[in-house]
Amino acid sequence: MTTTLVRKAVGVTSLALVAATVVMGLFVTPPDVVQGNLARLLYVHPPVAWVAYLAYGVTSIASGLYLWRPTRSLKWDRIAVASAEVGVVFTGLTLVTGSIWGRPAWGVWWTWDARLTTTAILFVLYLGYLALRRIPLSPETRAKRSAVAALIAFIDVPIVHESVVWWRTLHQGATVATLGANTKVHGIMAWTLLLGFIAFTMVYIWMAMVRYRVETMSAEIEAHQLEAWEAERMAEADTSDAAIGRLLDPGTRAPDEVPTDQGVAPR
């Protein structure tokens, strides 16, 4: 009950914050000197990217906690999927907003820049994680295997983050982290960016909670199913033999398709 309330509160808050970010981003902040109105994507694109990192971070921690024996519980596994799925959505949003930004900024939707490519790889990595979860296995086995996969996949996150440093890239370097020294992003913009960051984090929390709820509900359904089956398992019935005559009568043989088989059709 209370969790439902919390979830709803988080949902409403996150929507309100996103609305506030939109208002701030579109109407309150000034256009950028160089990029004009385009720069308004600044309040969406980096937060969305960071939230994707956050989601995968949560997935990794939950996976680690599942693998560590003292804390092993399917609860962690459910948190891991919930977070990973939202993470995939946010990675997708990063790619989309980035592309939309790239079109006017760089003149192309896509370019083989290290940041971009590693982000796309991140997307595919977690698609793989989700696909791995779909192969039919017992819940414990699936949890264990996917936890291992999640931990390996996380290796890509620091690579994405550092890609701008390791490769010479087209993509923006660490602008925001060096905010203090940066004159390009001034007061109100910084606050809006912070607001965007909080808003999308809330959206993430809300989506992950909903997703987690779905997971627990399907676990509950499974538990119910288990109870039903346990009840059913107590009784076992035998079958009658009335149908035999009907089934074995030579006149009821399959009609033959092969034309050369005329002679062997039912006599």
Partner: protein, 231 residues
């Protein structure tokens, strides 16, 4: 093709990867007979059943099965034969219902027939919507047998049919064989059970790819209430 209902092998040899799994095998079987194939491991029982199903070709000799000449008529023989080997022929990723529905479509029979067969083998209940992958060994076997009964073959080729089946399933299958042969079908049953053939039917003792002896000959099982059938 003559409407011949018998089976006759004359010095048939079948080689698998160069090894003569059947060697100079000759025998004759009439319509309505049940033949129990017995013999040590590697005697060639499975190979004989596969040859009768049109799945292996005689490399020497020739055979006449239900009016179909071998080698040559394999394809038309397959449509007449009902084979139940060690492998179930089921799609693990499909449910029981879907597997049997495929059989229905390929056989061109009515779905009530399939339902009857499934009912008979007790796979209509909880299992009906389960993937085959999640069934127990005997449950898979029952699904496969349901498909076989729905086909109502003219020649039943059963390789250790009792394996994995519980007592009720064994009784049911035995009863089915008796009924089918009564209606003119032929049944070949490869088995290691000592009781096989005691209550009727013929026993071919195989060894080294050929028939060593026709051990016993009893009254062809047409008196057959289920309880008297070999278990």
């Amino acid at each position: 093709m003559p409407a011949d209902d018998s089976v006759s092998f004359s010095s048939v040899t079948v080689t698998l990867a160069g090894f003569p799994a059947l060697l100079n095998l000759s025998f004759e079987v009439e319509a309505g007979e049940t033949v129990y194939l017995r013999g040590p491991n590697g005697a060639g029982k499975t190979t004989l059943l596969r040859t009768l199903a049109g799945l292996e070709k005689p490399t020497r000799g020739s055979a006449m099965v239900l009016g179909v000449e071998l080698p040559g008529g394999e394809r038309s023989l397959r449509a007449l034969a009902g084979m139940m080997g060690t492998r179930s022929h089921l799609y693990e990723d499909l449910t029981v219902a879907e597997n049997l529905d495929l059989a229905r479509r390929l056989l061109g029979i009515s779905s009530s027939r399939i339902d009857d067969a499934a009912e008979l083998f007790g796979v209509r209940g909880r299992l009906w919507k389960q993937k085959v992958a999640s069934l127990s060994a005997g449950q898979k076997r029952r699904v496969a047998l349901a498909g076989l009964v729905a086909k109502n073959p003219r020649i039943w080729l059963l390789d250790e049919p009792h394996s994995s089946l519980d007592a009720a399933g064994r009784d049911l299958l035995d009863k089915l064989i008796v009924e089918a042969t009564k209606r003119g079908a032929i049944a070949f049953v490869a088995t290691h059970e000592a009781e096989a053939g005691r209550a009727g039917g013929r026993v071919l003792e195989m060894v080294g790819g050929t028939v060593r002896a026709e051990a016993r000959e009893a009254s062809p099982g047409d008196e057959g209430p289920a309880s008297e059938v070999p278990e």
